[in-house]
């Protein structure tokens, strides 16, 4: 315990916290549509997966206990909140997800016109990272896990994330875009369903419902990494008030991952809290 308190006091904690990877793999949703029109109710089928190949699934993400045997992912899936935020801002949690071997699937129905936010929200999970005697970093999940002998640089963390996408039925509105106040969320002047190639979108990152003020990292990767050699990961600069610009050069689905962290005042049972947003955005041709 003395190591932890020493570390917490030192200014090196933030650097160390950022140096250690907290999320091993990317995770995302892919909606069949992000824009719909019509005068009758319509559905969108959404898939979700944990995978480093952007928008090509590798492992499922999300399940309502009706799907495939997901083995060690079951505990994680039981934790997820299956959110659909309706155009009036109402948060529903009764969407049924089903895991298959390589991805999870959900149908979401839209009756009222406006913008919907589909989310799989992972609450805080405890994790401890540490440096082993051989100099490599490792991690253990759970509160107060038993650590190997002689480890140093012990940091007690939590990670939480939102995996989301936006879908508009007829005219878009802002009821579902407005931050819920939990974790990292997207807002700003540009509507997330109004993105076109070559146009600059002006977004703003929110943290716990307010424009983010602490440092945050945003990266964007265009769909289809499996079929090109360069990953072409783009880092976006975030201003002090959380605003940032994104100018997609071509149409398609884009993966946007934003992350931030907060140092917890001690004494407490956690040193650092990590928050991530994994967002799928669709860009249309000019």
């Amino acid at each position: 315990m003395s190591i932890i308190s020493k570390l917490t006091k030192s200014s090196g904690l933030i650097a160390l916290a950022l140096a250690v990877q907290v999320q091993a793999h990317e995770r995302f949703m892919v909606p069949s549509h992000t824009l719909l029109s019509g005068d009758k109710a319509q559905a969108v089928t959404v898939t979700a997966s944990i995978s480093n190949a952007i928008f090509h699934p590798d492992r499922p993400f999300g399940d309502s206990n009706t799907g495939a045997n997901v083995g060690d992912l079951k505990d994680l899936f039981n934790m997820l909140e299956h959110q659909v935020i309706k155009p009036n801002g109402e948060v529903t949690t009764d969407t049924r997800w089903q895991a298959f071997a390589r991805l999870s699937v959900a149908d979401v129905w839209f009756k009222e016109s406006g913008t919907y936010r589909i989310g799989l929200v992972q609450p805080e999970v405890n994790m401890t990272t540490f440096k082993k005697i051989d100099g490599t970093f490792s991690r253990r999940f759970g509160k107060n896990p038993k650590l190997p002998e002689g480890v140093t640089d012990v940091v007690r963390r939590t990670t939480s994330s939102r995996i989301e996408t936006f879908i508009s039925f007829n005219a878009p509105n802002l009821g579902a875009v407005k931050p819920t106040g939990v974790g990292v969320e997207l807002g700003g002047d540009t509507h997330p369903n109004d993105l076109f190639a070559g146009e600059t979108a002006n977004f703003q990152l929110f943290y716990q419902g307010k424009p983010i003020t602490q440092p945050a990292k945003i990266k964007v990767i265009k769909a289809g990494t499996r079929h090109r050699n360069e990953r072409n990961e783009q880092q976006l600069a975030v201003a002090k008030d959380g605003t940032f610009n994104f100018t997609p050069d071509s149409a398609g689905f884009y993966f946007l991952a934003a992350e931030t962290m907060e140092k917890v005042a001690q004494p407490a049972d956690v040193d650092v809290k990590h928050f991530s947003l994994y967002l799928t955005l669709e860009v249309f041709p000019e």
Binding site: L18, A19, Q21, A24, E26, N52, N229, E230, R231
Partner: protein, 168 residues
């Protein structure tokens, strides 16, 4: 029928004898740089270095650095030409993934069969792929078994750095 088979076999023996007569012990040196890349998380790349005929038949693997079998297929070219069928077998040259740095490999031109590689033109292939990173694939035509000293200097752009090939 028997006669035809016999003469075919005879021709093959003659071929083999001729080829081994033409070849001699040699030294193929490859130096490969795995560049330092700022990424978080950073995963060490899977790398394969191998020789094919100009008609794209796998000849010999000089190095195969890897972790889990699930991702062998991401070394796409090596996997399709050598990896998936183990043709020719590469067990002797496998190893764990390497951290950024420059690595030297030496091959004496001997095939798994114990024979020296027949003289002629070949293509040296170098492929590297990193999880949550990019993939790079570079090639160089080389001449083997011809008593011809050669050096080549290649430069990767993403997952590979400087590559030097020297043959004598």
């Amino acid at each position: 029928m028997n006669k035809i088979r016999f003469s075919f076999a005879l021709i093959c023996i003659v071929c083999a004898l001729t080829l081994s007569a033409l070849t001699h012990a040699q030294e193929i040196k490859v130096s490969v740089e795995i560049p330092q890349i700022k990424a978080n998380p950073y995963h060490k790349p899977y790398v394969a270095i191998w020789v094919e005929t100009k008609r794209r038949k796998g000849v010999h693997t000089l190095a195969f650095w890897k972790e889990q079998p699930d991702w062998f297929k991401d070394l796409r070219q090596w996997w399709r030409k050598i990896g998936r069928d183990k043709t020719p077998n590469y067990d002797a040259v496998t190893g764990a993934t390497r951290k950024p740095g420059t690595y030297q490999l030496t091959w004496d031109g001997q095939l798994n069969s114990g024979e020296n590689v027949p003289a002629g033109q070949y293509v040296l292939h170098i492929e590297a792929v990193r999880e949550q990173g990019s993939r790079e694939y570079i090639r160089q035509i080389i001449t083997l078994g011809d008593n011809q000293t050669q050096t080549y200097q290649l430069q990767g752009k993403t997952e590979l750095g400087s590559v030097q090939i020297s043959i004598k």
